[in-house]
């Protein structure tokens, strides 16, 4: 409790200031208010807590009171019971004290909750740990115990006195049906009694008629009354602030508080609680999941085991909450673990069987959760459970999960990770894979701030990247960092580029790599590689774009600095591909050619000694303005004076067959190694595939080891790539596409064509045939 001692030498000045002579001076009104309200308020709000903390620390360090703050002087009111000065001081002390006490209670409550959750306590101990009244009593006791002692006091006795005082406050009866004034009077009375209890324990001697008292009891009890009137509102305000901060940090709120708010609706809107529960359901839910945390207003409904948190989207139904909590119960009990172990055991023998087992385990989890939620929701129970199980078995795999993909699709992706980790992987969440990484949120916010003014759909583009579940947190973070890097205002770019557009295009390509296009440029190979990079390593693509946009240079994996001609980094006029596509594709061609130190035999200059060449001598450059072919790029040979097109090195008979940028599978593998690293092997299959069986085996193996997409050569004259367009057909039709998915069961592939198309369900037979040169019948060559 705040202290009211009889005056001592510290307060003499103030007493003097409050006598009649002082009142005649100008500003006496303020002096009175300052001395009787501001000073006690500051003392109780700041000085007492600060001294309590510093002195506790100093006591622990066995030091004397080195950092004590002297309290502001307050006039003595011991001889003037219930005078205006005393009432003012009591109100000020109550206002100043209630915050530290409520804060102490909140901290004690948090500590008790953390300990309870860490020890996974159940039953009475858990109930005790979650009891907020107990927390307030403990907090007040600790706070009072920490405070400075006066003559005749001890820390222990003060602590017990504080706890006893607040026990009276917390457990005294307040009629909830009474009016505000009635409830306030109830509280005032119990505060009055609590303060007397405090004084009785901390200073029992003051009640002795023999010893003179140095405690102003009337002021203390008055303050106690006021504190108890203010306490509930302060506690509620602090709790709301804590919950808001906790939600902002992505930590959620305890389930009991969520359930309380969702049933009372007191602050339901504030924290986004959207579901109402019956008392029975609430109790049962709370009993079974007392240490779970809830994050309302999230994007998805899911359970996150690592945080022991259930994330709920706005307006989630009661069934959804029950469903997710059932996942929590199962996760903690490890019910699915034997199934995962069984699937892991099959991995070495039969991958298909391992996948089937894995999918069965995942399906069973969903079925159990769904049944549990429906059972809980329908108090009368389920009438035909067997029928429901049969129905769920059929519908759940194809049902859309929170992220928009079907469950079977998500399980397949999980299984790839399961396979990669030799069966050690366990599914993280159900199954939104929401991103709670604080760094991601910070970078996303920065990006949003930089883009939002100029790009109204920036928020959607950023969200789309975040929601691409196949990317891990590090990749998303890296993409955001790279894009933020080139949007930073402090950089002076090589030329004034439309950077917000470039940022939006990069984000869109990261979110949907199938938007990559080659446009009217002979860059099918680099475009297919760009697609594969955005699928597997979008952070590398974003890094490339960022480097080129900032400096016009790109540093490849071997440390070579690839320099781009100024025209290369200016947006094309024809706009048949995006600026981001242009930068990636032209840079990647340069990554190959500028690092060359020897040319292939078919590029032998025939001018003397050998085919060696200085690194950087060959550049893929956009040609100066040509109104007929506005965005023409050529490989230029800077080893010649004057500079000549590299095509001039080709033998005349080859010039009709080979066109810039002269890319083959080896070139693409080389570029991939420089941009994405070569840890995962080649990105392109050999130009000429050996057999259909080898193709099938390769695709199956890459599919199971998560190494798709892979690039392959096709002849685009094959009907598969003509969209019904009839002849005439050119004499040569070599083109590069990316195989993005493969289904070993049906032996069909999904293909990305950098012209801007996805072809699904392409049989390996057709794909293999397309890899071979298409034979044109003579009648097609008419003019």
């Amino acid at each position: 409790m705040p202290r009211f001692e009889k005056s001592d030498n510290k307060t003499n000045d103030a007493v003097g200031a409050s006598d009649g002579s002082a009142c005649d001076k100008s500003g006496a009104g303020f002096d009175w208010f300052g001395a009787n309200f501001v000073n006690p308020l500051v003392n109780t709000l700041c000085v007492e807590p600060a001294n309590a903390i510093t002195q506790t620390v100093e006591r622990a360090a066995r030091q004397s009171s080195l950092h004590r703050i002297e309290p502001l002087s307050v006039p003595d009111t011991s001889g003037k019971p219930f005078s205006s000065e005393m009432v003012s001081q009591s109100v000020a002390c109550a206002v100043g004290s209630v915050g530290p006490y409520a804060l102490a209670g909140m901290l004690a409550g948090n500590t008790m909750r953390c300990a309870g959750a860490a020890l996974k306590t159940e039953g009475a101990i858990a109930t005790f740990a979650q009891n907020e009244k107990v927390a307030q009593i403990v907090g007040a006791g600790v706070y009072d115990g920490m405070k400075e002692t006066r003559q005749g006091e001890s820390h222990l006795r003060n602590g017990i006195a504080g706890a006893a005082n607040f026990a009276v406050l917390e457990y005294s009866h307040v009629d909830p049906r009474a009016s505000l004034i009635g409830r306030s009077l109830d509280r005032f009375t119990s505060g009055f009694v609590g303060s007397l209890t405090h004084v009785a324990i901390s200073r029992p001697d003051v009640f002795s008629v023999k010893s003179p008292s140095d405690i102003n009891i009337s002021s203390s009890v008055l303050t106690g009354g006021f504190i108890n009137v203010l306490l509930p509102g302060t506690q509620q305000g602090l709790r709301m602030l804590q919950e808001k901060a906790s939600l902002r940090m992505g930590r959620g709120i305890p389930i009991d508080r969520y359930l309380e708010s969702s049933s009372s609706y007191a602050n339901a809107e504030a924290i986004g609680a959207g579901a109402a529960f019956t008392a029975a359901t609430t109790n049962k839910l709370f009993e079974q999941n007392r240490w779970a945390r809830i994050e309302p207003n999230s994007k998805f409904d899911c359970y996150l085991p690592k945080r022991d948190m259930v994330s709920l989207s706005t307006g989630s139904s009661r069934e959804t909450i029950l469903h997710e909590l059932h996942h929590r119960t199962e996760a903690l009990a490890g019910i699915a673990e034997p199934g995962f172990v069984q699937a892991a055991a099959y991995l070495n023998k039969d991958v298909n069987r391992a996948w089937q087992t894995y999918a069965q385990v995942r399906r069973a989890q969903e079925i159990r959760a769904e049944i549990a939620s429906r059972q809980e929701a329908n108090s009368s129970g389920l009438t035909n459970k067997a029928e429901l199980v049969d129905e769920l078995k059929k519908t759940i795999p194809m049902a859309r999960s929170a992220g928009g993909d079907s469950y079977i699709h998500l399980w397949r992706r999980e299984f790839q990770e399961f396979l990669r980790t030799s069966g050690k992987f366990r599914p993280e969440a159900d199954y939104s894979q929401c991103r709670f990484n604080k760094e991601i949120r910070d970078e996303a916010n920065k990006l949003y701030v930089r883009l939002a003014g100029r790009q109204p759909k920036a928020g959607n583009a950023i969200d789309d990247v975040i929601e691409r579940h196949s990317l891990n947190d590090e990749q998303v973070l890296s993409v955001f960092k790279h894009v933020n890097e080139f949007l930073k205002p402090k950089y002076n770019n090589v030329v004034q580029l439309p950077l917000p557009f470039l940022a939006m295009q990069t984000l869109r390509l990261v979110a949907r790599p199938e938007k990559v296009k080659q446009g009217f440029h002979p860059t099918c190979g680099p475009a297919a590689l760009e697609y594969a990079t955005y699928v597997k390593h979008p952070e590398n693509a974003a890094s490339l774009i960022s480097q080129v946009a900032l400096s016009g240079k790109y540093k490849s994996a071997d440390g070579t600095s690839i320099i781009l001609d100024l025209l290369n980094v200016i947006p094309e006029r024809t706009k048949t591909r995006s600026f981001a596509n242009q930068l990636f594709q032209t840079t990647s061609v340069n990554v190959h050619w500028q690092r060359k130190t020897s040319l292939e035999p078919w590029l032998y200059a025939g001018d003397g000694i050998d085919n060696s060449i200085m690194a950087g001598a060959i550049r893929y450059e956009r040609q100066p303005h040509n109104p007929f072919i506005p965005d023409l790029y050529r490989l230029m040979d800077y080893s010649k004076k004057p500079v000549e097109p590299l095509q001039d090195r080709l033998a005349p008979e080859l010039r009709n067959d080979l066109a810039d940028p002269l890319m083959d599978c080896d070139s693409l593998n080389d570029i991939n190694g420089q941009i994405n690293g070569s840890a995962h092997g080649d990105i392109a299959l050999p130009w000429d595939l050996n057999s259909q069986q080898v193709l099938e085996r390769t695709l199956r193996e890459r599919h199971l080891t998560d190494r798709l997409p892979v690039l392959t050569v096709i002849d685009c004259r094959h009907p598969l790539f003509r969209h019904g367009m009839e002849e005439p057909l050119p004499d040569v039709g070599w083109h590069i596409v990316a195989v993005r998915g493969y289904d070993p069961a049906t032996k069909t592939a999904s293909i990305f064509n950098p012209w801007g198309h996805i072809l699904n369900g392409v049989s390996t037979r057709d794909l293999y045939k397309a890899n071979k040169e298409f034979k044109i019948s003579s009648e097609n060559k008419s003019l």
């Binding site: 296009k517 080659q518 009217f520 440029h521 002979p522 099918c524 006029r573 024809t574 706009k575 048949t576 109104p627 007929f628 506005p630 066109a659 685009c716 004259r717 790539f721 003509r722 969209h723 019904g724 367009m725 009839e726 002849e727 005439p728 057909l729 050119p730 004499d731 040569v732 039709g733 083109h735 012209w755 801007g756 198309h757 008419s782 003019l783």
Partner: protein
């Protein structure tokens, strides 16, 4: 008179008198082809049949098809914007001054007819965009371009040539 046969959807098209094939470029991009026709006495005059070799996106292809399915009409700026990819350079304001774009019936098949000019090279232009495949994604183009005076002089015979088209 020379007759063009079997190029994409074009089964037959009769060239005006004095016109002959001048040049062809095949396979520059994908399955692209470009056939040029002209007159030896007027080298700056050119009629071309062009297929860009690669398909436009499914979205653009569907929009193109949808426009062609409607009764012949003048295209609004919004409609032009929706098929920017199909119209290629003709939809790039910094490359092309577009005067008019409309869908019209040519030998009982709807096409898009665009008129304008390439200001940088001083060529008047008329381009016919044809659905060359089965899903609107393969776009066949008949391009007529010449300096303004020559263009206006030969425009009527080009119109007759276009009216002579027989489709497959």
């Amino acid at each position: 008179m020379a007759v063009i046969e079997n190029i994409g959807r074009i089964k037959r098209m009769t060239l005006p008198a004095g016109w002959t094939p001048t040049r062809q470029v095949l396979g520059q991009f994908g399955n692209s082809y470009l056939y040029h026709y002209g007159r030896s006495d007027t080298p700056e005059l050119q009629l071309s049949i062009f297929y860009r070799g690669m398909n436009v996106s499914s979205l653009s292809g569907k929009t193109f098809e949808r426009i062609l399915k409607k009764e012949p009409h003048e295209l609004s700026p919004e409609a032009i914007l929706s098929i920017t990819e199909v119209l290629g350079s003709c939809a790039q304001p910094d490359l092309y001054d577009l005067d008019r774009a409309s869908s019209k019936s040519l030998s009982d098949s709807n096409v898009i007819d665009v008129e304008g000019r390439f200001p940088e090279v001083g060529l008047e232009n008329r381009t016919i965009f044809i659905n060359g495949g089965n899903d609107g994604c393969a776009v066949l183009e008949i391009i007529f371009s010449a300096p303004k005076k020559v263009f206006l002089k030969h425009a009527p015979e080009i119109e007759r040539c276009l009216q002579s088209i027989e489709w497959k």
